[in-house]
């Protein structure tokens, strides 16, 4: 993200802090996807995630006067969304797992790979995803935010409300469990 984009976002944030709902709408548009996906990773239901993200955006708007403009906006916003998602998780209901997009020809990383190799790679991915879904909740969240949403450790700490050391240790334990599991199964390295 270049300096120019950050400057523009700071301006939008400042206008939203002063009650410019249209400026805030612009921010919502930019963050809608990551907010929804953050909520989805936590609550595992598309309907609940939609509500959590929407309510999170509304609450963030009201709380904007309390947002320190020099702080990064994204983790602050996603923390509010994550809290909404966590509240909904307690409410229960149908929980879905993440699925993998069906591989289609030409989208594989190595187009020259044999069909067998491509199939094996797809199977390994499915097993890895299944293993992640089977992790303890905090470890699953640590891995998901770091590797699926590409949030930094500091951002994950803010979003999840954990100390940074806790993010680090849960991430490390998660990776350890995954490695063990795949070593036992004969390796995921394709």
């Amino acid at each position: 993200m270049g300096g120019g984009l950050r400057l523009e976002e700071r301006e939008l944030v400042e206008r939203a802090r002063r009650g410019d709902a249209d400026a805030y709408g612009e921010l919502v548009g930019r963050y809608a996807e990551i907010a929804f996906r953050t909520a989805y990773l936590i609550v595992r239901s598309a309907a609940e995630a939609e509500d959590a993200a929407q309510d999170g955006f509304v609450k963030a708007y009201i709380a904007m006067p309390r947002f320190r403009p020099e702080a990064p906006f994204r983790p602050w916003l996603l923390r509010i969304v994550a809290n909404e998602a966590r509240n909904r998780r307690r409410a229960g209901g149908r929980r879905q797992g993440l699925a993998l997009r069906a591989a289609s020809a030409g989208t594989e990383a190595d187009p020259s790979a044999s069909p067998e190799a491509a199939l094996e790679a797809a199977e390994n991915r499915a097993r890895l995803l299944h293993a992640i879904e089977g992790l303890r909740e905090e470890e699953r969240l640590a891995v998901s935010l770091r590797y699926f949403l590409d949030l930094s450790e500091a951002e994950s700490a803010t979003v999840l409300g954990w100390p940074r050391g806790t993010v680090k240790s849960r991430l490390s334990r998660a990776l350890g469990h995954l490695r063990e599991r795949f070593r036992a199964e004969g390796g995921a390295d394709g």
Binding site: D22, A32, A35, F36, V58, P65, L98, Y147, R179
Partner: protein, 264 residues
């Protein structure tokens, strides 16, 4: 497994490789929905009956009494009278520490009836506005006594609405056609309470803050009483299109104005 690279690298690579291949549900259009809630309409959700502490309201015109000592400005009375040119609101000075004559509890007070928002809209002669940013109110009180009616929206404390220690609620919004009201509530501003003129919805308004202030009522016969259960938190007071609004909250002015901006 001699030529294996350290498992960590492979695993982390595999995880990063997995990320773009995840089939999330499609992202809903949050922008339209959020924008609509901030600018229009109601949030879906239940209107919960609030069975907490009962809050008693004196009904009708708000009368703001500014303690001249608190203002500490020469010629303040005239200035304040001009500023407080709100329908149904008159300015009266009060002693530094207002001590009202005691009168029997309940006398002169009218408890509004708790109703649904739809019933409240049908019961009063003005258009009831609600803050879209807060969703549906938890309880709605209506008093038919002032001509045209008075509606009070009550919001329970919640994350974005800290509990006002004085009233036990998250936020109150009263609205009524001020000019027609025969009774009034009088607010006594003791020392420590600040009165700040502020623009609200393009109109002149007032922000009262800094100290819990007692709500003193005076009925049409001129009797005054103090509701001991009734202290007011921060209050935003303004009028627009002939309707007087009073918003009570533990929030600060900027946040209160954000909520007002979502009134529809």
């Amino acid at each position: 497994m001699a030529e294996q690279r350290p498992a960590g690298d492979d695993l982390e690579r595999a995880l990063s490789d997995l990320a773009p291949r995840l089939a999330y549900p499609p992202t809903p259009d949050a922008r339209a929905a959020v924008r609509a809630r901030l600018g229009d309409g109601q949030r879906r959700g239940r209107v919960a009956r609030w069975s907490g502490r009962r809050v008693v309201f004196a009904v009708a015109v708000l009368l703001l009494a500014a303690a001249l000592a608190a203002l500490a400005l020469p010629g303040a009375r005239a200035a304040v009278a001009e500023w407080l040119d709100l329908p149904g609101v008159a300015v009266r000075s009060t002693p530094r520490d207002p001590v009202p004559a005691a009168i029997p509890a309940g006398s002169g007070l009218v408890l509004g009836e708790a109703q649904s928002l739809a019933e409240a809209r049908a019961a009063v002669l003005f258009r009831v506005r609600t803050p879209a940013a807060l969703g549906a109110p938890d309880t709605v009180y209506v008093s038919p006594t002032p001509p045209g009616g008075l509606v009070t929206l009550v919001y329970k404390p919640r994350r974005e609405l800290p509990e006002a220690a004085e009233t036990g609620v998250g936020l109150l919004l009263l609205q009524f056609r001020g000019a027609l009201l025969p009774q009034f509530i009088q607010k006594g501003l003791g020392p420590g309470a600040r009165l700040t003129p502020v623009q609200v919805e393009g109109e002149r308004g007032w922000w009262i803050s800094g100290a819990p202030h007692s709500v003193i009522f005076q009925d049409a016969d001129g009797r005054t009483g103090d509701d001991p259960a009734r202290l007011a938190a921060n209050t935003l007071l303004w009028a627009r299109d002939g309707i007087t609004y009073r918003l009570e909250t533990a929030l600060e002015l900027a946040e209160a104005l954000q909520i007002v901006a979502s009134l529809r």
